[in-house]
Symmetry: C2
Subunit: 387 residues, 2 copies
Amino acid sequence: MPDQVRRGLNGVLVAESELSKIDGDAGRLSYRGYPIAELAERATFEETLYLLWNGSLPTRAELDPFSRELCSLRPIDAAVVQTLERLAQRDEDPMAALRTAVSMLSAGDPERDLVPTDSETIRRTGRRLTAKLPTVLAAYDRLRREEKPVEPSEELGHAANFLYMLTGTEPDEVAAETFDTALTLHADHGLNASTFTAMTVASTHADLYSAVTAGIGALSGPLHGGANQDVMEALLEVDESGDEPVEWTRSALDEGRRIPGWGHRVYSVKDPRAEILEARSDALAQSMGESRWCEYTRAIETYLTDEKGLVEQGIAPNVDFYSGSVYYQLGIPIDLYTPIFAMSRVGGWVAHVDEYLEDNRLIRPRSRYVGPDSRSVVPVEERSDSV
Amino acid sequence: MPDQVRRGLNGVLVAESELSKIDGDAGRLSYRGYPIAELAERATFEETLYLLWNGSLPTRAELDPFSRELCSLRPIDAAVVQTLERLAQRDEDPMAALRTAVSMLSAGDPERDLVPTDSETIRRTGRRLTAKLPTVLAAYDRLRREEKPVEPSEELGHAANFLYMLTGTEPDEVAAETFDTALTLHADHGLNASTFTAMTVASTHADLYSAVTAGIGALSGPLHGGANQDVMEALLEVDESGDEPVEWTRSALDEGRRIPGWGHRVYSVKDPRAEILEARSDALAQSMGESRWCEYTRAIETYLTDEKGLVEQGIAPNVDFYSGSVYYQLGIPIDLYTPIFAMSRVGGWVAHVDEYLEDNRLIRPRSRYVGPDSRSVVPVEERSDSV
């Protein structure tokens, strides 16, 4: 069927990739062959970035200079902070503020005149962007609270440094590790809409700032990146209602509402990332002495699985169903959940752009014309009111 | 071949559309059934926008309030001008400055909390964006020349107002009409990379600022929007060389250079937009008493067609081959040619987003995994140096 319209491009293969492998029926995800659970357990986000960008996990001798470089690239220009201040005065949505500030970062790139499609340049620009995104985001959150941005640490890892810049206090080990894991889990996931957007932009030989800014725009859509925020809002609603979570869920379904964090275009079983975050959420609850959010989440999952049979129908908990409560327990404001997703996924965007440009082909599909036949332009004064 | 990789999505149909119809073999282009040559001749850019967004050409009673609304939406926030100033201090590329400023416009949208996927909201936001893009661009050009931005006119049409804001002087009729025609010709062209990018972003239910910012990013790539700039640089090179244009072209080809402005993914014959701009370029040359650029262009075209047989091979002049010299004759700085393309194409981006969201399906293709088989994560201290 060469002329079939492939709306949504569902199932259309647009590239070959050595990055993530997703088995939606078995609930398996790996990056460059490494199962996501092992990476979450035994590697940091920095190691995962190195893996995605370079093809193999780093040795200690490779990791240290890589981490030091990322660390040195964290600071952002005063001009970007000033723009963030203006946006904070307007109470701009953090995801939109991130989009604007990331776009603005190109002006401060000392190498912005290099050919942006060379693999070395893509990776170096990728390291710059990945290093600076947390700084932008933490600065914006503080500015809108009328607090002074915290300078990035020169010691802490990527995950811990973000929590430090956000709060002004170094996070404890459980918090830092949990957040690091969350970043690792979100770093890549095949050709999702934002990754595909970044690739499409880069396929025109636009620079990486254009590709990543576009990726942030795509991720800002509620059908892509917004669901963990919805999950947390639902959990807060359960809490405020005073109802049992199962009662609340039953009423919500009766009102025709969708329970957020369930179902995925690719997974027909429970998302492997959700499994990992579930365990982390437990550990966090224990360390903080607050088990409420885990209990609500688990009660809803059991009800939807056992009584409503959703999982049997291929609608299972996805990563968002657990990441919301993890971020909440880490003290992260709800409207930063999607920007945090961007902070992690930028790793995948850069990796896919680099991979696609090795053998680039401008991404340009077609549409089937179904409009009016040929008609003639009558000058405006002679047009009648009846269309 | 369901499992074939469609690199570049060449020939893949991703949507049905009532907007532009392109017959690449016959060299025909129409918007909603109206041949592009008739629109260029008998309708303004505002009428073309109305057509793309509303489905029919406006009557006088429809056009006047539409034009007045666009006019009233031209001013931009002081905060955006301040950011443009910062970017000018860094000598940022105008296309990157446009990307950042357009992203920033969302903060000033009084209706930014409306559901961004409602057709009325898309069109209203589209009118805002389309009205403000020229203001952003003209302000940026003046700021980098250390001149004060010119407030938008409340009288002039879209095309004339841009030239006025750029230069501070009202353009004459030939200049205004020529520029208006150029905007009409570039307003839509099927699912090119930037339009497809805007649709992909909007398919996540992201807002139109995200979609248009992403479209600008895609258009900034030299494989998409940058070629008219290359054409003009080539013509200036001809001029400076003192050689005959044919001589210059022959040497360039001998050196293995590509002549910019030739060949198109969709057209195998001369681009109909090039035909129209060729005539406008002549009129402009006559009105300005400077025929040099037309002569160079025509000489190169004749040589490549008759002696090199390029057109016979399906490589023909595209729209960029003529727009470059038209813009040059209008006194527009060369690095604004691609941003001007965005000023026009935003009309198509908005129309396609609106059309696709009527029956939205998240755009999410797949990749074929060709990476390593399953492997196990060894902790960093135990990894060997040999990869």
